[in-house]
Amino acid sequence: MNFKNLKLNLSNKNKDLIPQILTVLFLILVVIYFTINAQSNMGNRGISFGFGFLSQESSFDITFSLIDYDGSHTYARAFLVGLLNTILVSAIGIFFATILGVTIGIARLSQNYLVAKSAEWYVEIFRNIPLILQIFFWYFAALRALPLTVDSINFYDISFLNVKGWYVPKFVWTNFSIFIYSIIFAFILIYFLAKYAQNQRDKFGKQIPTLYISILLIIGLPFLTFLIGGVSLSFEIPELTQLSKTVYVYRGGVSIIPELISLALALSMYTATFIAENVRAGILGVSKGQKEAAASIGLTKGQILKLVVMPQALRIIIPPTTNQYLNLTKNSSLAAAIAYPDIVLVFAGTALMQTGRAIEIISITMLTYLSLSLSISVFMNWYNKKMAIKEK
């Protein structure tokens, strides 16, 4: 028996090595096989592997772009346009999904039976319908039912909604940079204020109303720049212009294309259901004893929520919600289905069709998503660590 064990120990090293070597060998063989095939295939089609095409003229147009772009720009710029559009719709989606999700999550815990039930049904309905169908629904069915440009839905004469999109006033700034600086300055002040307040609280037990001062700062400082900094803001309101007898368009202002509206709507309504469940689980996860203990030492209801329940609930809520943000960003690629010019449509669609460089373009697209996912998860991990229990 002893002898047998000894033998086993001696061969342990080999036993560990062989499967590893086999795995690596297998990987290398697969890569070599794919490379040889890819080379011969590309040779047959007369293209060679490389990223030189990125600096070539793209010669296609993109319907919606945050930066200056037309057909004379390069493929690299087209890629950037797509990437920015992806980030834009993800950011909008995350913003609204969070607001809606938190509201519904709290509503599900409401004492009010009707409110709790409605929230529950919202979650059940929107979670169980495929996202792509929801996008199709908003884009092809709901938004197509909007009126034509001539009879747009009018919001107080400044904003117009019609089948071509949503026209909102454009902000025209003078000395915009001063305004931005003032906001940054306000944030720096708030940071120091928070440190000072904590210091005072730890040392002397003095409570400083940080929140109110912060709100005052963040509104007051930018407002001051209007009075003395030479900043001014005017609005360019979209106007109905007649092109020909029956053709009307809105000129000026900012037009939000229906693709963006339906995508953002569907993404945020779908993801909100998952965030709502996270929020509910987080709040339920804080044990009742915590609230009772807090109440018994005389904290007010607001203080209990702010100082006892929320810090603990956030710890439960944040990790799965990070996942939802990641999912939303990845799901924004469904844009390709309704021709919203995101990175998949612009790059993996149009650019690939024109250049035929499948390997390079798909790799770049996938790498972009990978790095987007990784950066969000790195940021959220950092935040999560900050919120985690610091055990002494």
Binding site: L27, V115, R127, I129, P130, F136, F137, A141, A145, M366
Partner: protein
């Protein structure tokens, strides 16, 4: 000023309830009249006040009947569930008013004004939904472009599947595992052969013609069966002590989890053929299945890993102390327990898989949502997008809702057993 006069207590309870109910009733009548008969009984008031009257009446009425404890069961129930504070009363009223305002038009569209009879778009004369569209296209929505005369094959395949699954619930425990092994390893091949044909005198039906709801089921069933073993292996690999295997697994899992499915499908459509010897043609459906399987396997791996991590260390140590090797330990001791723990997680992955199947439109395969897209662009049926998507949404909703309910029940059942 003493407001407590307006507060209900036990002595004046009846008066307060009467006045309160009347006020609430007036509020309800007001909103019902204005939304059904479009008459405004408070039109003599200024515009904005008249708009808010039902709310004000309701709020005041609810305020009057709010009492800590009345002894009346119904009243107490109303007060605790709908009327515990002014804010809650407002929410209750808003929800009720929203229901009164929006449910009837929805019902009208769905049922009362909808058109069911007829065979063409011209038969849809009412204001409501045109369900004739769904009726006419139903066959396509279920079977795709599969030839009409051959559809019995799909029916047979699915019917056999349901019978087998049903049978596995009722046969004695001894035979159960044979049925399950048959279902997992033999039946998929038979089913696929039956549907694709080509041999045994069955006409060959190319995969491009498959579609509709049946394709949704085929894709999700195959992807589930295939991604399960791969996911398990990946999960074991990720927990392996051997660095080369561990990092390969981590890299593989994180790669798939970091990219959206649509790019994976694009990859299978345009990039994958470049990696194969020139002239090899892999069927579209098979490429899609490989792509979805690998993608879902990464998610499945994380689910299974959760189960592996949840097992107490003692299980591993006990198995080792019995002299079991790595594979024996995992297959006989660890995995059976770990997999049982993560059944709800597996169900959720499957749910996500079903919801992801519409994406195969990227490579030109049309399941239910894709068929709706095709049908609504048919020149004879323009303008039917709403009906099509609502129908597809309902079908998917029923499937997913039933499945999620089932997985929740499973979760509860497993919890009590432990």
């Amino acid at each position: 000023m003493n407001l407590s006069i307006l507060k209900a207590d036990k002595k004046n309870l009846n008066t307060f309830i009467t006045i309160g109910s009347v006020l609430i009733f007036i509020g309800l009548i007001d909103i019902i009249l204005s939304s059904f008969l479009s008459t405004n009984i408070t039109a003599f008031l200024p515009d904005k006040i008249s708009y808010l009257t039902p709310l004000l009446f309701g709020l005041f009425g609810l305020y009057l009947i709010r009492i800590e404890f009345s002894g009346n069961k119904l009243l107490d129930k109303v007060n605790t569930n709908f009327n515990s504070s002014n804010f809650n009363a407002l929410l209750t009223l808003l929800v009720i008013f929203a229901l009164i305002k929006y449910i009837p038009p929805l019902l009208n569209w769905f049922v009362f004004d909808a058109n069911f009879a007829g065979n063409t778009k011209e038969d849809c004369t009412g204001d409501g939904a045109c369900w004739v569209f769904v009726k006419v296209w139903l066959n396509r929505f279920v079977y795709g472009l599969y030839p009409d005369t051959e559809q019995w094959r799909i029916n047979t395949a699915f019917l056999t599947l349901f019978l087998l699954v049903g049978a596995s619930f009722f046969v004695p425990q001894r035979y159960k595992k044979y049925i399950i092994i048959f279902l997992l390893f033999v039946y998929p091949i038979i089913g696929l052969k039956l549907i694709s044909g080509g041999d045994f005198g069955l006409k060959y039906v190319e995969t491009g013609a498959w579609g509709g709801l049946s394709l949704t089921f085929i894709v999700s069933a195959f992807a589930l069966i295939l991604c399960f073993p791969i996911g398990t292996i990946l999960a074991l690999g990720r927990r392996s002590k051997l660095p080369a295997i561990r990092y390969t697994s981590i890299g593989f899992i994180e790669l798939w989890r970091g990219v959206p499915l649509i790019t994976v499908l694009f990859m299978s459509a345009v990039m994958f053929p470049m990696f194969l010897p020139d002239g090899t043609y892999v069927d579209k459906l098979i490429r899609v299945l490989i792509a979805i399987t690998l993608f879902e396997a990464a998610y499945m791996a994380e689910v299974v890993r959760g189960g592996l991590q949840a097992l107490p260390k003692g299980q591993y140590e006990a198995a080792k102390s019995l002299g079991m090797g790595y594979w024996k330990m995992h297959f006989l001791i660890i995995l059976p327990q770990a997999l049982k723990l993560v059944i709800p997680g597996i169900a959720n992955t499957f749910l996500a898989l079903v919801k992801d199947t519409p994406l195969i439109f990227v490579v030109g395969l049309l399941e239910l949502a894709g068929m709706v897209n095709l049908a609504k662009t048919n020149p004879k049926w323009l303008g039917m997008a709403m009906e099509g998507y609502v129908f597809a949404g309902l079908v998917f909703w029923v499937i997913c809702y039933v499945m999620s309910r089932y997985s929740q029940n499973l979760e509860k059942k497993l919890k009590t057993e432990r």
